[in-house]
Each structure stands twice: as structure tokens, then as C-alpha cells.
């Protein structure tokens, strides 16, 4: 493991990338970029028939999987299918926000306990299940040219860094996910598995049909004031390509105009 030529232009043939949690934002951007750089790519979602995922299959050959990532047996089965179809994963992105609709903007005395628990299950618990399956498989991988057996990336949010009002359930979920990532990093990085936590400290505005970028609640992106998922994907790819002598663990991404 010594010199590296320009990482940015490397091809990643031989890589198998899995994205758990599939929608029009980060997951779709990652799927496109990973496929373009030569990886075999699978995306798992509760509803794999979403138009955006069908489209990814058509345009980029991305394989779709139905999986409720908060169910241990489903996650195990999903990873088995992936190994059979694509091979053992070398890059796994856990990209589930996990919030239930009814939990948004609920104060601590109004939040429904059932929905809070669901949020935790969807987010942190599914991260645990995905991380567990990924680690089991990656341990058996041969180290690549960078000395890595694989990369596991946990997408996270501002709530991983600070607790916001009216967001107790999500704060619990995000901080739990962040603690899991830290613990996994300490256990697995010395074995050659790169663990990364990426809190996105901003609204994400993905490209709409008319070419503008927008967020469901925050509206249209003006002047790059929202995170562009295509650019987030570029950083994910760079993290995956880091050499094991110099790994980043936590990478916060925020737009230039964001206060922090």
C-alpha cells in the first residue's frame, strides 16, 4: 500500500455497493455515481417499485430489493440475496432517515410513544442490523489496493450534532446511530473496515423534473443554499477510496450559506 494515482478518476470495477433506504435524494445520487464509476449497485427499500428506483434500474442497471430494514430476518435475507446476485458488498450506505410522518414537529408532551419507537427502529435499529450484516460479510473480503475490506457509511443529520426542539424522537435516533458508528469504527477499523458517519447539516435539495433543486418543506434551493445530493455522493465515493493510512470517520457536510 504505497503511492496512489489520482483517486478521483479511479474506476471501481469489482466493487459491490449497497444502498439501504432508497428514494430520490442521496440514495439515487449515490446509485448513479457508483454505477458510473464501475460498481455493481443494489438499492433496498420498503417499496422498491417507486418510480425513481425503477428508473435507476433502467438507466444505470441498479438492482432493486424489497427490504424492511428494521426487521432482522429481512435484513439477513436481503444481504444473502445480494451476495448471490452481485457478490459480497464492499461499500454499504445506510441512508434511512426513519421519521414517521406523525412525529414531525411534535413537542415532548405530544409525541406519540409508538411513533417515537418506530422512528428509533427505522433509523438506529436498522443501522445496527445493516451494520451487523455488512460487517459479517466484509470481514471475509480480501483487502483492496487501499488496504480496505470495505466501507460502511451512515448518513446522518444535524440532529446527530445537536438536539433541536420538537424533535426528541429524531434526536434520539440520530445520536444512537452516531454512537453505533463510533463503536463500530473502534471495533472494525483496525480490521480494515472503514466506518464513516456523515451528518448532513442542512436541507437536501434534489433535482426536480424542471431542473431546479428543492426540498419538500424548505422549498426551492437558491444559490446552492441546500445540500446537493449529487455532490454528497462525490464525497461518499472519496471516503470509500481513502487509503487505510488516512481514514476520516466523521464528515459533516453543509452548504456554504448554512450557519453552524
Amino acid at each position: 500500500m504505497t503511492q496512489s494515482e489520482d483517486r478521483g478518476t479511479q474506476k471501481s470495477v469489482g466493487d459491490v455497493a449497497l444502498i439501504v433506504g432508497g428514494g430520490p435524494g442521496i440514495s439515487a445520487s449515490c446509485a448513479r455515481l457508483f454505477a458510473k464509476s464501475g460498481m455493481r449497485v443494489g438499492v433496498a427499500a420498503r417499496d422498491p417499485d417507486k418510480p425513481v428506483l425503477q428508473n435507476l434500474e433502467k438507466t444505470h442497471g441498479v438492482r432493486r430489493y424489497a427490504c424492511d430494514a428494521s426487521e432482522p430476518a429481512a435484513v439477513e435475507l436481503f444481504f444473502q440475496s445480494v451476495v448471490r446476485d452481485l457478490g459480497a458488498p464492499t461499500l454499504v450506505v445506510h441512508n434511512i432517515d426513519g421519521r414517521m410522518l406523525g412525529i414531525f414537529r411534535k413537542g415532548i408532551t405530544e409525541a406519540d410513544p409508538g411513533l417515537a419507537l418506530e422512528t428509533l427502529r427505522n433509523s438506529a435499529f436498522s443501522a445496527f442490523l445493516v451494520g451487523q450484516q455488512a460487517a459479517r460479510l466484509m470481514r471475509e473480503n480480501k483487502p483492496n489496493a487501499n488496504g480496505a475490506k470495505g466501507t460502511i457509511i451512515f448518513t446522518n443529520a444535524s440532529a446527530a450534532l445537536k438536539g433541536f426542539p420538537l424533535s426528541g424522537a429524531f434526536a434520539m435516533a440520530c445520536q444512537a446511530k452516531s454512537g453505533l458508528a463510533q463503536s463500530m469504527a473502534r471495533e472494525l477499523m483496525p480490521e480494515g473496515i472503514h466506518i464513516v458517519s456523515v451528518p448532513i447539516d442542512a436541507a437536501i435539495g434534489w433535482t426536480q423534473e424542471d431542473g431546479t433543486r428543492a426540498h419538500r418543506l424548505a422549498g426551492t434551493s437558491v444559490d446552492d443554499n441546500m445540500a446537493d445530493p449529487d455532490r454528497i455522493a462525490e464525497t461518499y465515493l472519496q471516503l470509500h477510496r481513502q487509503h487505510r493510512s488516512t481514514w476520516a470517520f466523521e464528515v459533516v457536510l453543509r452548504p456554504w450559506l448554512e450557519k453552524w
Binding site: 504505497t2 478521483g8 446537493d228 462525490e234 493510512s245 481514514w247 456554504w256
Partner: protein, 254 residues
Amino acid sequence: MKPVCLVVGAGAGIGGTVARRFAREGYHACLCRRTDSDGLNRLVEAITSDGGSATGFLLNAIEPDSIERRVAAIEADIGPIEVAVYNLGAQIGDRALKDTSLKAFETGWRVGTFGLFRLASALCPLMEARGKGTLLVTSSTAAMRGNGGQHSHAAAMGGRRLLCQTLNAEFASKGIHVVHIVIDGAVDAPDTLGRMLGPERFQQLREARGNEHDGLMLPTEIAETYVHLAKQHRSTWTHELDLRAFSDRPWWNH
């Protein structure tokens, strides 16, 4: 005219390697270091024989006006500084409080914090006028926690980190990307670690933890991440980043 990548603190480790990597990206590299013009010339020659362009300068960052004059001269004679790398270290080894002189503490601060402030004061107005610029600041474990014997170093680097935060608060929205990069481990660098340990112990460390073990951080690999940070799109900037070898414990676990 090529854009300029200015590296303050260009030894044979991170500084020189980052300069070379940016030269390969099409920048004219300006390498500054305090001493050893032979070493400086070797770095410049390595870049030019690699097909890049570079100029070397001896620069004492503690001297009044040295940084300011160098920035002005580069802007006038060579080109706009689009990327600046502040890579001066302030590590003087572990020293108990009674062994840390007022002078040593002050020097640490001058190199660790004040030099960056002076560079930013000279450069940010120029970058602001152009609406863009990148300031990559190499930093260390001591920026995150004060370990025994690190009085001077930790205070200087802690100041460096918080200075980066306040620079970002003022200049991010003006298009200037400031990144504080914590190098949380030993770097395979002959001019810094090598000099501190002496050739024999440095070689032993390389054999025990470096080379094929990848337990010493490789400047060529650090440079890859520096280039990535400079290329990040403004919709998704990273402002603080830790890098460490896979086998190392992070600063918060020590």
C-alpha cells in the same frame, strides 16, 4: 495564468506532498518554509520534473510582515492564490509546565495561531473580492484535547481550530471555504516526526508501524483528501475533518 496554491510550511511531509499534488491539478505551487533551501529546491524540482510548475520561498512566519509581503508578492508576480494551505506545526514535544518557558509558549502561539490569523488577514479580502477561495488548515490532536506536556502546543492548536470556526462564520457565505483538518496520528514525514525522533528511532517506528502496516499516515494519501476538500462544491462543504490511520485510536478514546 495558473491559479496559485500557496503552502506555508512545505517540508518533505504533508506540505511538500500537498503542493505537488495541487501542482498536478494544474495549480502553480508556491512552497514556503523557514529553513533548508536545499530541501526546498528539491521539492520544487520534484514538482517541475513531474510536469508541474512551482516556486520556493524561504519564509519565517514569526517575522513581522513576512507572510503579508509574501502573499502580496505572489499575487502581483505569479497569480491569484485560490488555495492556501497553512501547514506550520508547533509541536515542541512534551514539556512539563516548569519546563515550558514563556518564550516557548509564545512562539507556539505565534506559529500555531497568530500566523494563520495573519495569513487570513492578508488573503481573505483578496479571496472575498474574487468570490472564492480555499484555506486548508492542517491541525493536530492537540487542537481537540490537551494532553500532558502539551501546554504550548494544545493552546496554540486549540486557538487555531476556533480561529478556523470564526473565519468560517464570517467568510463561508462569501465563498471562502476554510477547513480545519485534524491529523490525529503520526505522519510518515522525515522533516517533522523524523527530525523529532532522530533517524534511528524514526526508522524503528517505520518498521514497527509504518511501511506495509499503514499505521503511519502517508502524506500522499493525506494530499488526496486535501484535493478533494478543495474541490468540494459549495452546496456541500466540510469544515472540520479528522484523519487517522485505520489502526489508531481517535483522540476521544485516549
